[in-house]
Symmetry: C2
Subunit: 534 residues, 2 copies
């Protein structure tokens, strides 16, 4: 687990967490007022704060009763607002310090990102990441889904995931000096498969036509139902899914982006394993997802890696010499290239003229950086003397080809969606880019390769970890949970019909930046003048 | 455990159980309609039957999902209506037979009476009783409360009680051929102490001034929270308490009596360990309880025993010879006298002239039945040749004295209550007598000894096991649960202020039938003429 300081956090405007603290002075019992302890507490809270009479779980009754007498009926109650009504989940003496914590979790298939929140103060104490432990059963989701095909496998996936979450909780609360039993609420956003694994839900029909999740919406659960290291009665909100391809992480992202309550049209893209695109405004939302991401994550492109220490994240190429200038994450020597580095590299090679419009390395370009590899021509980004692992970092035509397919997929999806509603990209007022990717990507570069449309750069907004921050939102303001339902109801999912027309659109988009250059007027590259003269 | 055929059962007018069966045909999923399984089921039920969208517990999702596919989306769902909303707790194929069971339990401190109900048909399958296993920790409640003073003791009391309930469930469902997991609902009525023990609630403040229960109202729970052998998600309704002296059994009794919805004034009395009295109508309810019962249960009176096989339940005394004519419960030889037998005996001895108005055996009465014992004079009810245990059954002056104190307590309570609201007994339209006692007692006899007021015998109604039948009511009609809350809210509890006036009232009532004979005009006894002549 590593602390990633560059993660942005959320500063809530106001505070309305799903677990709220109430200070209460009750009239002590007497012969003339012999209401039972718990009834006195629950009714007292309801009367004093205008909330429905809260429940108390059977297991808490004796402890709370003792606390009432010991603190002479002056108490601080923490009330969890479940869908089915409020419940008192913690009771302490009135003078107890303001301790009410929670965590938001972006449950990615590769990385889990935790936001540890102080719910009483409305602050993010720390952000930590940990590898998704499911990777031991397979890096790719399909292998894991196969493994989940029997009950033992599914149970195992669930167990390792919950264990990893609990380890992160244990370590981080230890570092923060927090009592884990004062973790009162959690919000978890993952894609549909991750959510199924986390909840132990059957994925049999999820991966078979017509691709049906076991459940989309389970409503807030209790921590003990999931085995999480928290207050056992704490509220755990698992973002609902919309369908097999449209998960809670994307709903959390939409929530964070706010596009569902804007009057103007906006697009949000999230590039992970899939490229996920949402287009819409306060009246309607259109969503689409497609396999576009692999090139941008570790494991597919030979030199690719997840954004993290040792990843080349920025690349500039000298226009005459073809020599690279790189920025590496952390203070380490480079060992690979992350998504934004790859986009930078391809864009810069193209803008310098090292890459052709077909995305091939031009051996005639006067540089020694073009080398021969087993996979054909390659561009030597970092020679082994400068790398962390003592091996050259070479990006080959094959790697570039994978990236071009990904960027073409992204552009195609965007194109299908605007076409579907009969608008042009210029009608879109905001273009939100979610994910770590969105934080690192240079929109100029992404436009240069034709991955995203050639619109005004001011329209681009990097959202950061939209899923994680969206999850933080529901913990700072429980009213956001009904917004999530509203978004889920509003979403129309666009199926990509793989027909000849789509294939043509896709093929045209695999070029740099596109076969139709009029779509990318701002992109100036060496071959352009030649092309314009033709 | 013995089957007691003489228990009356409830025949519901209409059926609206807390767990209801719904047959549903859903549109199977398709590419164009890819709602998740559980969402499809829950929303389908809500839309088809106009109920709120029901929840499904996490543990049930996979099973229910499989049932949906296996039964091709034609299902029978059983929905439990919890306070916090409905939940699907069982799902089977559409053609599944109508199996939905429940049990009502009158959790008495001596005897547990179970009513096994077919909730689908609205029928009582059987009524069984079992001894309350807490007796091993002490016959009287105070000993048990002492034992419950530490956590281990309380846990032990809870465990043996739940175990005994589960044994009764296991045996009876076995006899009935019922699958215990199809027990969908249970309703449990006990006094405040029994409820505390059953739920494992602390009794520390319950038995110390100002006598505060840990909780009065816990709301319907899930069977698994209590460890009951039922459908683990089944609904368990535990009748709330009103205070330390006023428990759920009495609320259940009031529910069964219906006095809370009558326009006319009515009284309900329930004689167990305490004498509990409720007076009121649809507008107000006044309740009072006092230690009046011991004489009428086994253990206090030397020859006393609980109503059951071998108990003398009816006694007539020949007016001239003083010879007894008895009826014994079951087909066994007599071994003791139950409450109604004792009342009969004292009344008949008094009416015959064997007992004086002071309740003393009159040795001058010409009968050989008056014998000398270690405790002074006694009446030989059954000689050892005729008994089941080979010992004489002799009722002594001491025994009679205990009964007189009990009957005086009952009359005093009744008197205090009518005085409190400024009415006379003649203003009372119905006089309900609850309990096994109510089933056996002869109102003429009870009036003769001045235990209950001298009102028209037609006003007396034996309610049977009002607590048990009240518990059956909520299982046949869940709307009754809110009636219980209504009753609890409406109840005013009258504390008996033990002052000189009360003592005078009590002392006057220890006479046969009372010092003020004008209160009992219908009671004619040998000494009366003599008295009138005075």
């Amino acid at each position: 687990m590593s602390e990633t300081a560059q993660e942005t956090t959320l500063t809530p405007q106001s505070l309305n967490p799903p677990v709220q603290r109430f200070t209460l002075t009750l009239t002590p019992p007497s012969i003339g007022d012999n209401t039972a302890d718990i009834d006195r507490l629950a009714r007292g809270l309801a009367a004093r704060f205008g909330i429905p009479v809260p429940r108390v779980s059977l297991e808490n009754i004796n402890r709370f009763s003792r606390t009432l007498w010991e603190s002479e009926f002056e108490v601080l109650a923490q009330v969890a607002f479940f869908e089915e009504g409020p419940e008192i989940i913690h009771l302490g003496p009135k003078e107890e310090p303001a301790q009410s914590y929670g965590f938001a979790l972006d449950l990615g298939s590769t990385t889990m990102t935790f936001y540890f929140l102080d719910l009483a103060r409305g602050e993010t104490a720390t952000v930590v990441t940990a590898a998704n432990p499911q990777a031991r059963f397979g890096d790719d989701i399909l292998t894991r889904l196969h493994f989940a095909g029997d009950v033992q496998g599914l149970g195992e996936l669930r167990r390792v995931t919950v264990d990893a979450v609990n380890r992160a909780v244990e370590t981080t609360t230890g570092e923060l000096g927090w009592d884990p039993s004062l973790l009162m609420a959690a919000a978890i956003a993952g894609n549909t498969t991750m959510t199924h694994f986390f909840l132990g839900l059957d994925t049999f029909h999820l991966i078979r036509e017509p691709y049906i999740p076991a459940a989309n919406r389970v409503g807030p659960l209790r921590a003990r139902d999931l085995g999480l290291m928290m207050n056992p009665f704490g509220l755990v909100y698992v973002f609902p899914n919309v369908g097999s391809y449209f998960g809670g992480d994307l709903l959390a992202g939409i929530l964070h982006s706010g596009i569902y309550e804007r009057d103007e049209l906006a697009i949000m893209i999230d590039v992970g394993t899939n490229a996920e695109v949402v287009l819409g405004n306060s009246e309607w939302l259109l969503a689409c997802a497609g396999a576009a991401g692999p090139a941008l994550e570790g494991g597919v492109v030979a030199v690719g890696m997840t954004a993290g220490p040792g990843a080349v994240e920025r690349v500039r190429i000298h226009r005459e010499t073809g020599e690279p200038d790189i920025e590496v994450m952390g203070k380490e020597k480079p060992v690979g290239v992350c998504g934004s580095g790859l986009i930078d590299l391809v864009a810069e090679l193209f803008l310098t003229g090292v890459l052709t419009v077909q995305g091939k390395l031009d051996r005639s370009f006067p540089t020694k950086r073009i080398v021969e590899t087993e996979d054909g021509a390659g561009y030597l980004l970092v020679s082994k003397e400068q790398t962390g692992h003592g091996k050259d970092i070479v990006v080959t035509n094959t790697d570039i080809n994978i990236l071009l397919k990904s960027k073409a997929a992204m552009y195609t999806i965007l194109n299908v969606m605007v076409a579907k509603v009969g608008i042009g990209f210029d009608d879109v007022e905001k273009f939100f880019v979610a994910g770590t990717f969105g934080n690192h990507i240079d929109p100029n570069m992404a436009v240069s390769i034709g991955m995203i449309p050639d619109i005004s750069k001011e329209k681009f907004v990097a959202l950061g970890n939209a899923a994680g921050l969206g999850a933080c939102r529901v913990l700072f303001d429980r009213a956001q949970m009904s917004k999530v339902d509203e978004i889920a109801r509003k979403i129309t999912y666009v199926e990509l019909n793989v027909d000849q027309e789509l294939m043509n659109t896709f093929r045209a988009a695999t070029f740099l930046p596109h076969t139709d250059l009029s779509l990318f007027p701002s992109v100036k590259f060496p071959g352009l003048k030649h092309k314009e003269e033709e």
